[in-house]
């Protein structure tokens, strides 16, 4: 079953393929007669132009690639949504790839997307610059979002990781906490590294306990958050405050607290990085380090569009905001250290 081509349309309309093409792409001057004939013919035949053929001739495909580490992470799902909606406004279709927090899958998606000749690529990358040589050689306009890669000359849209973590630690310290357990992200990611560094600096700044055991290394997925909570709560001198470096690890960690009948807010202070809708499930509500994910997605697209247009857009860093809720009451309200 060969699908109908522009030739079929042209034949039926009694014009040449060239004229049919002009009419269908709303191009230049075409006669009233031609327009009518071609449009009805296309309609009747159910003509659907072959995007492959079109983009072989033109140099653009009107698609952008979006490469994310984990679509099951609500933060990235929100980001994907924001990017896709914004891209639509510019007439771009978003091809989405899920690297599954795996270097290998990331590489293979970069490959495939470049083969598909996407007009641009938005990625939350992992690994190092040399792993992304294809992108960084300037083969295609690229924007990094949320995460970055050292030494890459690519515009980025990131959040103020350091500021958010510092605010959270200061907040806990002000509440009287001196032992703060930290569930860190993977150090292969820029966000994992920056947040940990900021945590360590803030611990020093506030005079909190620098015990190395207070840092557990997770992988941004929920099981590692659970493992981290278990590890920290089982320490000889367990921390009375926990800070987790992303939303999925927070979910895992809170789950462990629930299992153990530890009451968040009274038995344990808790701060989560990222503010996701599902956090309203927690009672009392979680104190979080929040970002404007929607703005992050929009801006990433805007920078990419500018790049595609040949401009050299400036990177932007979005502010973090500490939202204090019931999970971090002052110690006098009943938190036994």
């Amino acid at each position: 079953m060969r699908s109908t081509t522009i030739k079929d349309v042209a034949e039926r309309a009694g014009v040449s393929a060239a004229t049919a093409s002009r009419v269908l792409s709303g191009h230049s001057a075409t006669s009233e007669d031609a327009r009518l004939a071609v449009r009805t013919a296309a309609e009747e035949l159910g003509f659907r132009p072959n995007a492959q053929a079109r983009s072989l001739r033109k140099t653009s495909t009107q698609t952008i690639g979006l490469l994310l580490p984990d679509i099951r992470n609500p933060f990235f799902a929100d980001l994907a949504h924001a990017v896709e909606q914004r891209a639509r406004e510019f007439g771009y279709l978003t091809l989405f790839g899920n690297a599954n927090e795996s270097q290998e899958q990331q590489d293979s998606y970069v490959d495939v997307m470049l083969s598909q000749r996407v007009d641009g690529l938005i990625a939350a990358p992992q690994g190092e610059a040399r792993d992304l040589s294809g992108l960084l050689a300037g083969e295609v306009p690229t924007v990094f979002v949320d995460r970055v890669v050292d030494g890459a000359e690519v515009p980025t849209v990131t959040a103020d990781n350091a500021g958010g973590i510092a605010d959270a630690v200061r907040h806990l310290a002000a509440l009287g906490h001196t032992r703060i357990g930290y569930i860190a992200g993977p150090q292969a990611t820029s966000t994992g590294r920056e947040r940990l560094e900021a945590f360590r600096a803030a611990v020093v700044e506030t005079g909190s306990d620098q015990d190395a055991d207070l840092v557990y290394f997770g992988d941004f997925q929920s099981a590692s958050g659970a493992a981290g909570a278990r590890f920290l709560l089982d320490l000889a001198v367990p921390p009375a405050a926990l800070l987790a470096a992303d939303s999925l690890m927070s979910i895992g960690a809170v789950g462990v607290c629930n299992e153990r009948m530890l009451s968040i807010g009274s038995d344990l202070a808790f701060v989560a990085y990222d503010d996701i809708e599902a956090f309203t499930l927690v009672n009392p509500a979680l104190t979080v380090i929040a970002h404007d994910v929607h703005a992050m997605g929009r801006l990433a697209v805007d920078l990419l569009i500018a790049e595609i247009a040949g401009e050299s857009p400036q990177s932007v860093v979005l502010p973090s905001r500490l939202i204090i809720r019931g999970s971090t009451p002052s110690l006098s309200e009943g938190n036994p250290v």
Copy 2:
């Protein structure tokens, strides 16, 4: 900056484009010499074949389309992940589209995906058969997943909606509940309709209260779950048990309970449709109607692959499983009607 083509590679390797093509696609007989020369040339030039040109010649693009209603719904995020991983195993890239629970965006994605000449399409559709004429005319192999469209001759992978809801209502009735509030999904979706129908049947079967006010119509998104919970809890005679037809509405509804200091499990029984990771945030844990999303995604891909191969695969219905947890204790345990 023209990207390197197979001609460039051929020239550098001192062979014809035809030979270069054969080597690069691991085709038929090629000489040892040719293979070596072409491979090194391709390597040196960083040659990346143009997928557009290739799929214009061949008839397949090695891509499938995945059209989902809402990527921010964890159920669909999990499904997307499962589909994508399975498709990868067969060498297919997944082009992902987010219809945003909008008919219009769904239509435009169907259009774009057909234009991109995806080899097959997996969709959780909404609306009616006539809205999807392109798909249903057999233009491209299609599988519906989770949701279906009446009168469409398309293989489907669905969950046993009716069985799950019936089990939940019976469970609540056995606990002594006679007034059960139901937050329904949109009636433009097959899942919304089937679940509501099953709810009504089970209410009759168990002799529960058939008051029409006990059904609130939501839209599968969290804000409507919150609105539904407020509506139901504000009734003159509010239900002491709530059942929500998906995970996002459950999140909204539980959030309202938290706001109102209603203790789930003691003040109110709660059952959620779908079991998502974030539900571990709730304490006590939620009773849920669970499915094997992973199997659903895998099967959808398997059916599609079969269809692409020219077979006529059978639709499959996956079982629902009621998982009873702390949010639905027996009334004697303290639920005041």
